[in-house]
Amino acid sequence: MIRRLPVYLLLMLGVVVAVVPFLITILASLKTTVELVQGVFSLPEEPQWDNYRRAWVDGNFDRFFINSLVVAFGVVVPSLVLSCMSGYAFARYRFRGKSAIFIYLLLGLVVPLQALVIPLFYLMREMGLLDSLWALILPQIAMSMSFGTLLMREAFSGVPGEIVEASVLDGAGSWRVLWEIMFPLARPFVGTLSLMFFIWTWNEFLLPLVVNVDPTFQTLPVGLLFFQQRWTSDIPVTAAGATIIFLPLTVVFLLFQRQMIEGLTQGAIKG
């Protein structure tokens, strides 16, 4: 026990260092500017909920939040459907060019967004999609294909062939086999994959920064940046804005902790 105590303390210290910046940000978001300088851990005399109203209304966080939600769903759902379809093709069929197409799709794993973001801007301009949510949704679906295909191929390869054959004998077409047999069996993978897609999309910063200039179509991360630049001196309101971003993320994380850690450590390969 005596030897264990220092290690527990060490771990505790690690947790404190990791979490305290967020906690004091929450505290700061409830203070007045005067209270802010009086002490980091001091509690506000009266919680300044107005900081949140100002962030939400004056800082347009309502807009950014809705945009983030729309983009997240607009990316996650189609990406899942397309990944299931392509993963299914690789797991269940033999066809000409199979490995070539597979490698082609996987190349996305080694290409950083930086390598395509500049032409993406001009592509979107030519398509008339600059300053729209489409400019965020379409490229991020594309960027999801590599990891999605890889994971769903693995998921579907794990489904025993007899189950599929039995349902084919029952007269199920391949489309029904995919969605009614395979998909439910692969649910853990689907869950992990949706969480990955969600986090990647929710946190994406470079793409919206480049393709959308109009704040009307911005998502939360770039919104927070605008915000910080506009209210440099008003820390409590900026802290409220920051809290609006990380609190929902923390809740999602705590709810799906296990899948998320698993997915992110696996998905870490997604270079």
Partner: protein
């Protein structure tokens, strides 16, 4: 939400799959039909832009009209390799590597090893807290730390002043400290991720290896060197390559904290690339830097993976 299901292609297959002749054709087409949407989206919004990056990097272009594209061969690359600004930006990325890669690996490894050795319970309990920074957007991390490190009213410097340090550095605004500070923020965000990976990895190392080492009289360091580190080779490869890539592409945190400053002390390649293309309107030059960045990332991650695989044989 119309493209959510896109059933048109494949459900067609299912419905028409009755007549024998057609069926064999459709059966052969089936896998391609399943792949079609993914391949189309991937090609249009990933492969084509990547090809575009390579193509534009060979031109001089202000980005205004496509007709203004002028082929200049490798001029942009020559410009980059002979420009001080480019090398300074690259150097800043290199300085970030020990902070982003080595520091969090060490900080994560040590507790992971101790937890395993002392067979601590509840190690999982700590995981959530430790892992939290890793899932947060870089901009948020930047904004939070920028406040915490604010020289005038940030918690760090007011604490330092209270402890008797008369004039603590202004961290992100200081010419000497800015880059290491950004590095430390990166290390802060990553050490929990390393810990979690290492804890999971150590559990997979067979216990007899440890028992054998102990029978041979191996001490703490010996055991670490002979059993733990080799056993964690896979996790090391992941941690090193992932964090190396983060160091090379660093953008979000820097954009939100220093935006390259003070001066150009924290200007990194990704920032230099964006500024060249969109602020200086040198799109060709910006894409050339993008190509260099991508190639560098690829080479170094292959190198890391090699390094850890070679020991295997």
């Amino acid at each position: 939400m119309e493209d959510v299901t896109r059933p048109d292609v494949a459900s067609g297959v299912h419905d028409v799959a009755q007549p024998v002749v057609q069926r064999s054709f459709l059966a052969r087409a089936e896998p391609y039909l399943y792949l079609l949407p993914a391949v189309i989206v991937f090609t249009a919004f990933m492969a084509v832009p990547v090809a575009g990056t390579m193509a534009i990097s060979l031109t001089d272009w202000d980005g205004i009209a496509l007709s203004g594209l002028e082929f200049v061969g490798l001029d942009n690359y020559v410009d980059a390799f002979t420009s001080d600004e480019f090398w300074r930006a690259l150097w800043h990325n290199i300085v970030l590597i020990p902070f982003f890669v080595l520091l969090p690996a060490v900080l994560g490894l040590l507790p992971a090893v101790l937890v395993h050795q002392l067979k601590l319970r509840g190690a999982r309990f700590f995981q959530a807290g430790l892992f939290l920074p890793y899932i947060m957007p870089g901009v948020l991390i930047g904004v939070v730390w920028r406040w915490i490190l604010n020289p005038v009213f940030g918690p760090v410097n007011s604490t330092l002043k209270r402890l008797g340090f008369e004039s603590p550095p202004s961290w992100l605004g200081d010419f000497t400290w800015a880059l290491p500070t950004v590095g430390l923020i990166g290390a802060w965000a990553a050490y929990g991720f390393c810990y979690v990976l290492f804890v999971a990895g150590i559990q997979k190392i067979p216990n007899d290896l440890y028992e054998a080492a102990r029978l041979d009289g191996a001490g703490f360091w010996e055991e670490l060197k002979v059993v733990t580190l080799p056993g964690l080779r896979r996790e090391m490869a992941v941690v090193f390559s992932v964090n190396l890539i983060l160091a090379l592409r660093a953008f979000d945190v820097i954009r939100a904290t220093t935006n390259g400053g003070p001066g150009d002390e924290t200007q990194v390649l990704a920032l230099y690339m964006i500024n060249s293309a969109f602020n200086a309107n040198r799109v060709g030059y910006g894409t050339a830097i993008a190509v260099v960045l991508a190639v560098l990332t690829l080479l170094l991650s292959v190198l890391v993976l090699r390094l850890f695989r070679d020991n295997d044989d």
